[in-house]
Symmetry: C2
Amino acid sequence: MKKYKIKDDNDLKECEKLSISTDILIFSVSDEIQSNYRKLNKKHFSVLLAKRDTYPFEGKWCLPGGFVKPGEDIEDAARRILVDKTNIHDIYLEQLYTYGEVNRDPRMRVVSTSYMALIDKNRLNDKISNNLSWFNIAVTEDEKTINVTLDNNNEEIKFKIAKTLKEKTTDRYKYKILENDKLAFDHPLIIVSGISRLKNKLEYTDIVFNMMPKYFTLSELQQVYEVILGKKLLDPAFRRIIANKVEKTNEMRTGGGHRPSILYKYKTTN
Amino acid sequence: MKKYKIKDDNDLKECEKLSISTDILIFSVSDEIQSNYRKLNKKHFSVLLAKRDTYPFEGKWCLPGGFVKPGEDIEDAARRILVDKTNIHDIYLEQLYTYGEVNRDPRMRVVSTSYMALIDKNRLNDKISNNLSWFNIAVTEDEKTINVTLDNNNEEIKFKIAKTLKEKTTDRYKYKILENDKLAFDHPLIIVSGISRLKNKLEYTDIVFNMMPKYFTLSELQQVYEVILGKKLLDPAFRRIIANKVEKTNEMRTGGGHRPSILYKYKTTN
DNA sequence: TTATGTTATAATCATAGTGTTAATAAGAGA
DNA sequence: TCTCTTATTAACACTATGATTATAACATAA
């Protein structure tokens, strides 16, 4: 048996060309005032991207990430990068998927583990560095392709992914990049599968509350679901589903020109 | 910005000590005749383990796995190992999680990506090599710990895992090995989190059918669910849930000393 | 041949959950 | 005071689920 045994010298010789990196999908939902005439603030689902200023893919956008240092755990590296970008320590962070294709980086073999971070954008207060930018996410999908448009109110990034259902042999979907001009590496794949994971997890976990402020109205919470899932939900149905996850407070949010809404908070003791 | 840029020579010097490996959780469910008196064949949920015969952890059991070769995709490596162990090509294979702790292997830094493979054990026909063995899985769990017993009718492997709920900061559970004598590396963690993923996926995917023969009775299918989830299900409820996933055939299974059961097959065109 | 054991399968009913529509509540501003 | 707007709840039909019970059909033994 040759398990866990380096088979020949070639293995060791080639080793020096290998690195581990991590790429982080930092997702958030934010209000954006659409018009001053009537304060119509619409929520957006968004992801944080960085503009590359070095080889390779110089000038293209990419996910915040970096190499895992020698002696550093992968998750520690992800958190280091996350703190570096946001200056916030207690951010929800979850490992998603590891990308091990041989030629995904032109410099050398780089195996990258992607993480998903969820944050309430209000906590940032524009503390992000100047090469970083939030892009609003718009996804349209049919049986075979996924079209994604990312928009930071200044630049638009569009890409297209082919989706094939690989039955019995691998994960539910196998993605392949069809069109992509502005994103570096295989990051379109990482973004698409990350969005898909988040959507799924919304339904069977309490993951949303990591993107919410401590106090929120049920309408706000519903809008967060709607903007991530990309579809409208019916009020009473939604309220019943999350009823036992939240707790009423005595506070109200007034000033909207309509009936005030009760502020709720996440009920942790469940 | 230092993203994707090797920071100093130290990075490269240390690189040569890094390797990528993959460990595969090969799960199956099998009949085992418990008694000859009355043909009471009970199903078991089981995982395939290999006995190590080299340093490190010589003599201990581990998951089938191995190093990813230079120039080989991680998933290709997983499939290569899977085919090597089973001689079957079209086995369901799904990436689970990447273990990146610095000292998980005493030889050098080894980052391991775990995969889950699901197989109908009948397809193997005892084709497995002699250092491999199927272990039946028994899990008991309370709020804080998970106890696992693996049994191959010859040897018993027991281990205990602490389960902490790390709120807001990482995946739902953080596992830590409390007791473990007979398993190599951090494989108790890989096994426990793999079982947990399989249990979850049973509920919201059609993943089970990868462990089933082409034709099966509803009782057999139900037993597979029961033995993996570790609890009894009610017949009518179960039948309603899987009703639209399966398709009746004209065949029956007779010979059980009772009413014969209709054979079903998985309805792929959904 | 008939009775009995055993499991397969369906019928039944109560209860819980969900989708949908519509009604009511209450602040802001005219 | 009236109107606009959104928040919140009520009400109803419908669907899904949990649980119990009834019936079907084969194998085996009397």
